[in-house]
Amino acid sequence: MLSRVVVEAAANLVASRQRSALALLGILIGAAAVIAMLNIGAIARNETVRQFRQLGTDVLTLRVDAPSGLGSFRLADVEAVPQEIPAVLDIAPFVLGGATLLHEGMTGMGTQLGVTASFASVARLRLREGRFISAHDRFELYIVLGAGLAQQLSAPYAPVRVGSQLRQGRYVFTVIGILEPVLQSPMMPVDVDGTAFVSIANMRRLMPDPQLSMAVARIHPEADPGAVMAALQRSFAPKLRDATLSLQSAKQLLAGMQGQMQLFTLLLGTVGGIALVLGGVGVMNIMLVSVAERKREIGVRLAIGAAPGDIRLLFLAEAVILSLAGGALGVLLGLGGAYAFAGASGWQYIFSPSAAPLGAGVSVAVGIFFGFYPAVMAARLDPIEALRSE
């Protein structure tokens, strides 16, 4: 019985194909918007997590702010932190500056960090070649380059390699290491790919008044970042005098960003939902026109013994088929749109397995909701009036 109703409903829709196509288009756009928005939301969330994954979420950043600009740690105070607060496994203070480097006629501009040897392990840097700055070469004119900066400085005939000589101001640095490319982390104040690393002592040569104003710390994965941050504040308060310590936890930042992303996804989904509701109104409109045009057919069906429920089912089936077909095409279009968006923004595409059942379910719900009223109108027609209609 149901299969016959479905076949008949589909045939009716095909017979008025232009009108059906218009109603279908409304649902298609709505469903595509919902699926694309939810999928893009999921992609954005994934991208956020991916950015954190490389650096890890067991990371804190510390910054000293003096009343007039950046303040400065004492190196010894920072290096004493892991002994004072056992939850801090390692800490790497650094000086932030800018660098203009020359190599074989190529110029590279980037950020420059004066670091200790621990920076590589705390920031989880991986070397493509060579090694990182060590405690033994504090005064050597050694430099480590981020992947992007190394590429910027490479001449076609003379790529930057370990051992290459780079000029910076009055100094000539020897490249001792080149890093693997990394995603920029929201926790790092610099783009590691575009950074040149030297020892803190060398930063004193390059800058008139270098400030050891920042540090990155790795804490125990089980530790409560809030408690560690409070302990750090207590520890540094007497040492910093009138400067203040700002702290940021990767876990808290990630939680905040994920919360924002969820809100973002909800907003996008709502926009898509509104489009879908408008599509549903289109289906209702088309179905009401169809009922008005097919009054005599309804009268004939009622006269030969169709129950009002049979008429209701037929028109409801037409609305649901329209919505389901629009929904199915909308899911494909929405996923395609999300794929194109991910490609265009350089993000990693992730397929949402819930998209198809969600799209189908929402479309059927829209079809039933907006098809119900026209179907009831059809079923309530008086057969005598319906047979009289032209």
Binding site: R4, A303, G305, L387
Partner: protein
């Protein structure tokens, strides 16, 4: 057997009521071909709607094969219409998107018969009305006479107690009208079914074995031709 006893029907018009049927009493047997004639406004359509279970009278009794059909509620009324009544309309009223056999099978499908069985019976009935070679044709591909044959097959396929034909030859030329009347005569004998023809055409009424005249809301028997 169809039995109407003192059927009245009036309609509300403004503050008052307008009587259309003023006490129609009628007893019709299976296997008869009966015509009801009457002028405009005589109540033909109202009587047909009551006999066809599309409308309820204001008063009176109505029984088909001894069953009181006026007590039925909406859903039961649909079932009774499906089992007891077959309709033939002046303008055929075939469903344009269904082919001939699907149009004929429709009453059986609403009865809940499996599609294969409904198709078998529909094709057999199309054979009986002389359209064995037109079963897959869409209504648009059929002539007026062929469309009315499909409509007659649709009315008869469910083996009803009564076939109500409202001006069945009104849209057809005289030759085809004659063929349709001949078909009615053959089928009422063959299927032992009561066929009630509402017409304003004395020529059509003359071919029926009983002729009834509806005037001013009451019915009178006409002498045989």
């Amino acid at each position: 057997m169809l039995e109407l006893v003192d059927i009245t029907r009036s309609f509300r018009v403004g503050p008052g009521t307008m009587p259309i049927l003023r006490g129609v009493t009628l007893r019709l047997e299976a296997g008869q071909l009966v015509s009801i004639m009457g002028g405009s406004g005589s109540g033909k359509s109202t009587l047909m709607n009551i006999i066809g279970l599309l409308d309820k009278p204001t008063g009176g009794e109505y029984r088909i094969d001894g069953q009181d059909v006026l007590q039925a509620e909406a859903r039961a009324l649909s079932r009774l219409r499906n089992r007891l009544i077959g309709f033939v309309f002046q303008s055929f009223f075939l469903l344009p998107r269904l082919n001939a056999w699907r149009n004929v099978a429709l009453p059986l499908q609403y009865r809940g018969l499996p599609e294969a069985e409904a198709k078998r019976r529909a094709i057999a009935m199309l054979g009986r009305v002389g359209l064995a070679d037109r079963v897959e044709h869409m209504p648009a591909m059929l002539s007026g006479g062929q469309k009315q044959r499909v409509a007659i097959a649709r009315a008869l396929v469910g083996e009803p107690a009564v076939v109500l034909a409202d001006e069945p030859t009104g849209a057809l030329d005289p030759k085809v009208s004659q063929e349709i009347m001949a078909l009615f005569l053959a089928l009422k004998r063959e299927l032992n079914v009561l066929i009630l023809i509402i017409t304003h055409d004395p020529g059509v009424a003359a071919q029926c074995e009983r002729r009834l005249l509806l005037a001013e809301g009451t019915i009178a028997e006409q002498p045989p031709c």
